[in-house]
Each structure stands twice: as structure tokens, then as C-alpha cells.
Subunit: 239 residues, 2 copies
């Protein structure tokens, strides 16, 4: 029963692109270290992937490797960046100027991946007009007009759980198609919007549950190795 | 092929506890709103779950419902908190006092779930001895002794990807069994340590990939609804 559920939930393209992300990160490290070429076997061994999986994933997007020589590190890196759309700049609106939201404005990972937070919104009158870093906090009421004016493509939701669904609806109505949500609640979204939820609370609770159990040595090791070999990734993605 | 992989990767207990987390969050909201009882059907309808799944998940942990009346909201909430181990306080060490790490020290979700960051570590001599909020930054070299002295149970890794594996090894060697990792790289961990990775970069890249594709109307809607109905969660958990 649970197996069938996992099958229904996981989507093919998401698994593949998540692995491409991980390959990219490894190739960036290799390029920085001056490595010129790498075979799929070495890539698999050095970063705990499955080499057949690497060849299959990359073959899906074209012929990147050279027989007997492997992949050219910089060429493959650049191709993966382009496949993942990272060569284009995306303007991002942050909604919720609390602790977590303010931290995200500064988060290096956004800049590194060509995501630029250019607008911040809140509904708290005490916050509207203040600044987070250099960005003035706008009234959430004006989301649609500001998003259109600034060509916002991505929304990051960092509001309390109780407000998240209504914020998502405002964001969708404004035509935003890509949303990253940090509110730890299930959200309803129309099928043309891609919603990625990063649920820190659920992750904490699963650690807590683990710590509450007596230590056990069960049969999960095979599962673990399989997960690790796939470089399976961290965030639940819905489209 | 992909389906088989998803099956191998997902683990039964993780899926269940992740759903318990979501039920708990909904029940907390209901209790705050003064609701006394709720049936599994109403819980499913109001929060986009599957009612048969709710009954099955809860039955696994005992008999909580009253026939014809449903669940008592506060009782079920308290039982779920206890099942998830949230009635116990966990001391947490943060490793990496950069932007993200410093934000996490303040993150309300930790306190709310009884996770208390009581120690912060870094290896940068300029940072050691400084303070993040009220916590002095310790030298990572002293991790083991400080962790033992302070009864640390959980480690949060917020270091660059290149340092994450070696940090994880230090943490494991010090006897820490529960780790939350924000470094976006695949990590190797022994099977008695529970490692949850929160990979913001991969999530960003999947949004970027989505935005790079032409709009499509494909058959993913059924999958989407299924995922939503399960309240499937956000973080990849390994044990």
C-alpha cells in the first residue's frame, strides 16, 4: 500500500532534474579543482551515484560523453546549467518579511542560481515601508501591480501557515507560475503552477520521532544505500 | 524504471510520520480555533487529506477516535505530540555561523518544536569567540567535548558543500544520531544516524527548469492531486 503511494507521488521528470542538479554541483566542484574530464564510473564512485543512472539521465538530453574518455567537465557543466535554465536570470518576490524571510534575502544560494529577490511584501503595517537589506517592503495588497511592473517570475512564501493558502492564491492570480513555499502546511495549487514546499518543521518532527524510538538494527540499510546512490533530493515538488 | 526507484527510496515509517506531522499541524490550528471534535472525513476535506489514510495512520498508533463522533481535537493533538517525541526538549548544535546558520538560530520553528540551539560551531578563526544572538561560537575542533558537556542530541549542518562530509563525520564520531543538513551535496552516513537534507538549491533548480520549459498541459494532474491528498512532505529523510 505504501509502495503504491510512493509510486503515485513521485514524478519522473522531477527525479531526473533533481539528479541533474546534483551532477551539476559535483561538476562545478570538479571544474574548480581543475579536472578536465571524468568518466561516468568515476563520477559515480567519487560522489556516490549510480553510473548506469548517470549515463541514462544524460543520454536523455543528448550525447555528452566521448567514448573511452568520459565527459569534458566544463562542457557538461555548461550544458547542465543550460538544461536547468540557470543561464537565465529570474526575478523573485519574497512574501513575509519575518526572521526566515529576511534571512532568505541574503541567502547566497539564490544569487548563485541566478534567482534575484527584487521585491519584498508583507501585510503588517509596521513593516510596510521598512527595508530588508536594500529592498523596501511593499504592501501585499499591491502584489499584482508590483509583480507585473518588475517582471517577477518566482514567489517565495515565508508567511505563517495560516496565511499561506491565501497568499498562494494572490500570487497565482497575479500570473506567477513558480513558487517556493516555506510555510509548513498542505497547500492547494492549480496544475499550471509549480509549487516546491520546503518543510523544516516536518523534518524536525521526523528527527524528533527518531530520537523518541529505541535504537534498532533493522533492514533499512539496503534502502538507505539505494537512496544515497541515487542522490535523491530534498524537497517535495508539486506541479 | 523510475517507478521502481521511487519505491525503493521511500520508506514506510518516514511517510507515516511525515503525515502525522501534517495532521498535528492541522489539529493545532483547530484547537486554537476552539474546535472540540472532528471526524476523519472532515479532517480530510478541510485539509486535503485522504480520510481512509488518516484512519489507517492513526490506528497504527492506537485507538483514538470515538465511533460516530470522531476525534477529540486536543486529545489527538497531545497524543500526536507525544508519538512524535515533541514533549521532550532536544539540544541542538549548529555548525556553520554564516548567513543561513545565523538565521536558523532565530528560526521560530525550532523553538516551537522543542529544539533548542545551545551551541554554535565554526572553523573560521575570525568567527570563533564571536556571538550569534547570545551563543558564543566555538571552535569546530572542540565539537566532541562541547557536545558531550552540553548533552547535544541533534546537529544542524549549515556549512559549504565542500566541508559537509567531513563535518558529518566529526558529528557522527561524537555520537550524534540526528542530523539536519542544509549543504546541497550527497552525504554518506552510517545507518544508525538519521540524516535529513534540506536542499534549497535543488529546489531552486527544479523551479528554474520548470520556467525554462514551454507551458504544457500534460497528464500530471492526477499525480498532483494524489500528492496533495497525501499531504506528502518536503524533506528527504535518510536513516
Amino acid at each position: 500500500m505504501f509502495k503504491a503511494m510512493a509510486m503515485k507521488v513521485e514524478k519522473v521528470s522531477e527525479l531526473t532534474t533533481n539528479r541533474l542538479s546534483l551532477y551539476l554541483r559535483c561538476l562545478e566542484g570538479l571544474a574548480e579543482a581543475g579536472r578536465l574530464t571524468i568518466s561516468s564510473d568515476d563520477l559515480a564512485r567519487e560522489f556516490h551515484f549510480n553510473s548506469a543512472q548517470i549515463r541514462k539521465d544524460l543520454a536523455y538530453f543528448g550525447e555528452f560523453g566521448v567514448r573511452g574518455k568520459g565527459y569534458e567537465v566544463e562542457t557538461l557543466r555548461d550544458n547542465l546549467r543550460s538544461i536547468l535554465g540557470l543561464d537565465k536570470c529570474h526575478k523573485v518576490a519574497l512574501i513575509g518579511a519575518g526572521n526566515l524571510g529576511s534571512a532568505l534575502v541574503d541567502y547566497y544560494g539564490f544569487h548563485q542560481r541566478n534567482f534575484h529577490i527584487t521585491a519584498v511584501f508583507d501585510s503588517d503595517p509596521d513593516k510596510i515601508g521598512q527595508r530588508v537589506k536594500n529592498i523596501e517592503i511593499s504592501d501585499m495588497k499591491n502584489f499584482s501591480s508590483v509583480a507585473k511592473r518588475d517582471n517577477i517570475e518566482v514567489a517565495v512564501i515565508a508567511v505563517p501557515g495560516t496565511a499561506a493558502q491565501s497568499v498562494l492564491e494572490i500570487v497565482s492570480a497575479a500570473g506567477i507560475k513558480a513558487v517556493m513555499n516555506f510555510a509548513p502546511v498542505p497547500l492547494k495549487v492549480s496544475s499550471d503552477v509549480k509549487l516546491n514546499t520546503v518543510d523544516l518543521t516536518t523534518s524536525l518532527e521526523s528527527l524528533s520521532y527518531f530520537l523518541a524510538q529505541p535504537p534498532r538494527t533493522n533492514g533499512s540499510e539496503t534502502l538507505l544505500k539505494s537512496a544515497r546512490a541515487q542522490g535523491f533530493t530534498a524537497v517535495k515538488n508539486k506541479r
